[in-house]
Amino acid sequence: MELFTNQVLAGIATGAIYACMALAVVMIYQAIDHLNFAQGEMAMFSTFISWQLMQWGVPYWGAFILTLALSFAGGIAIERLLFKPLAKAPILTNVAGFIALFAIVNSVAGLIWDFTIKQYPTPFGSSPFLGSQLISTHQAGMIGVTILLLILLFIFFQYTRIGLAMRAAASVPESARLVGINTSWMIALGWGMATAIGAIAGMLIAPVVFLEPNMMGGVLIYGFAAAVLGGLTSPLGAVIGGFLVGVFENLAGTYIPGVGNELKLPIALALIIVVLVVKPAGLFGRPIVKRV
């Protein structure tokens, strides 16, 4: 039983990483109806910016805030420059655009900061949390930040004018335009917010997986999986999906014989396919009824 509890706790700790990333994935999906394959790389780039700022002597929280602002602006700039012209292009062309962005960001980061692994500081310290060896204070802090972020997003979308406008622009663009919402800028705003949330995720993940240009590869796959599992229309679902994926991955690695570390990823993905086949909208997603 103790092994079980320990594994669940460890799973929640890694799940927090996936939950963070899944939140960013859902954010952008809400705004543009696409999965952004370059999201992980954008988060990695933001994290490198914050690292560079700290190298130049900016204190942690200063660098944190500055990075958020820069990422927000960067996200909007990318949307305006690269993806607004593609808004009318076929969906598959957009996906190719994401892949191109992925290649560019990854390669540029590698050139500026090279591919060596770097230490990244944590504001929460890394001592054991409440005497448990499995969750460090950093991981507890990460869970806390994720939940805080979720609450802030909820308040933003439910109780602010601009949040309402963004929801309107995402669900019924034509009607939103008729009541005077600038839907094009709402999409840009969605990109900005998603990039900023990605930056938070990156800065929280970096102390665990270490900082390097390829650090987000695996995390993004799990982030997608978590988002799809929880339902792409639900930020709460994404976070819960993240924790579920983390826990399941750990339990499968421990209890199913022959799984070990190598098959963890395929098993986690297989679980998600099973969930999707049974419940295609995800656990918390809103089923969408289609008509001709």
């Binding site: 012209p85 076929p90 996906v95 190719a96 191109a100 390669s107 669900s171 190598e262 999707l276 289609k290």
Partner: protein
């Protein structure tokens, strides 16, 4: 939240391509065919090898094109089918001493079955969900091939070495050149079969599903059957391409068939033009040669250069090579008048 908000008219994921616009005219086809037949006589062996790979990836892109451009289903998992085809050929040649040409139909049939079975659960998924499911398949495949359980057959992480076939009947040809013509013959065969498939009743059913699934089923198209069938056909062709690839490269290993391959094939389809079969070869040229060009421009930044080139292509011609062909056709039409 009103109920109306949850009902959407589903925009087709893939734009509608009319049947006639899917192929080249007879004259153009013959010119391209003649070029493909003659070029290897004038170039070095290494270039012949690259041309062979061009045809092989062209086949794989064509297979994806039938699935996406034909029936409107996404797949980021083509590398898995390619791997199964490659391993089937390699194992049959090395363990059962089978003739290389005979292994290809077997690879095709096995991949058809695999794709058909995978298509069954995938029926319930569409759009991003299907993309994720196929993506999972592609990520899992290299890990599965490395499993100790199959190691006797697959050679584990080391992979298998495949012998390159000689030209038969004592033809005075290098191995590379023979393999090129062998691949060319198969490619032409599959291309013609694919064109005919899309022109047949099944092809029309694919396209009806692509353009509007609900309307198609209302018209009496067996949506489940044709969607899985499209998966099977696509996987089968990819499997043949994989088998040919194994023979051409003379080597199979799990790390040759990662998600990167699936993404490349996907890019090839977009660059070539979704739903335009001849574009497959253009797309295949893009994924084989552009990374080399990018490497030539800047070693450290090759990824960035590749990305920028890709952006240029999709900005200038969002519909890929098809758009270029259409414009060219229009110009020629004007000159004639």
């Amino acid at each position: 939240m009103s109920a109306a908000e949850n009902i959407v008219t589903e925009a087709p994921a893939v734009e509608a391509v009319p049947k006639r616009a899917m192929t080249l005219g007879l004259g153009t086809s013959l010119v391209v065919l003649a070029a493909l037949c003659l070029v290897p006589l004038f170039v070095k062996n290494f270039i012949i090898f690259q041309l062979t790979m061009l045809l092989i990836y062209g086949l794989a892109v064509l297979a994806l094109n039938i699935l996406t451009g034909g029936s409107g289903q996404f797949s980021l998992g083509q590398s898995a089918f390619y791997a199964v085809g490659a391993y089937t050929s390699a194992i049959l040649m090395e363990h059962a001493n089978m003739n290389y040409a005979l292994t290809l139909p077997i690879a095709g049939v096995i991949c058809f079955a695999f794709g058909y079975l995978f298509g069954k659960p995938a029926l319930r998924l569409s759009g991003v969900y299907l993309a994720l499911a196929t993506f999972a398949l592609a990520t899992a495949m290299p890990q599965l091939l490395k499993l100790g359980f199959f190691e006797y057959w697959t050679g584990g992480v080391q992979g298998l070495v495949v012998t390159k076939p000689d030209a038969p009947f004592g033809l005075p040809m290098s191995q590379d050149m023979w393999l090129y013509y062998f691949t060319l013959a198969i490619t032409i065969g599959i291309y013609i079969a694919s064109v005919n498939l899309l022109r047949s009743r099944s092809g029309r059913a694919f396209m009806a599903i692509r353009d509007n699934e609900i309307a198609a089923s209302a018209m009496g198209v067996d949506v489940a059957l044709y969607k899985t069938l499209a998966f099977g056909v696509s996987a089968g062709i990819t499997g043949v391409a994989g088998g040919l690839g194994a023979i051409a490269v003379q080597f199979v290993a799990p790390d040759g068939y990662t998600i990167t391959l699936a993404i490349s094939l996907f890019l090839g389809m977009v660059v070539g033009g979704v739903g335009w079969l001849p574009g497959s070869i253009v797309g295949s040229a893009f994924i084989i040669f552009v990374p080399n060009i990018a490497e030539g421009i800047s070693k450290g930044l090759s990824g960035a250069v590749f990305g920028v080139l890709l952006f240029l292509v999709i900005f200038l011609v969002p519909h890929g090579a098809r758009q270029v062909a259409m414009v060219a056709q229009g110009l020629i039409g004007k000159l004639k008048r």
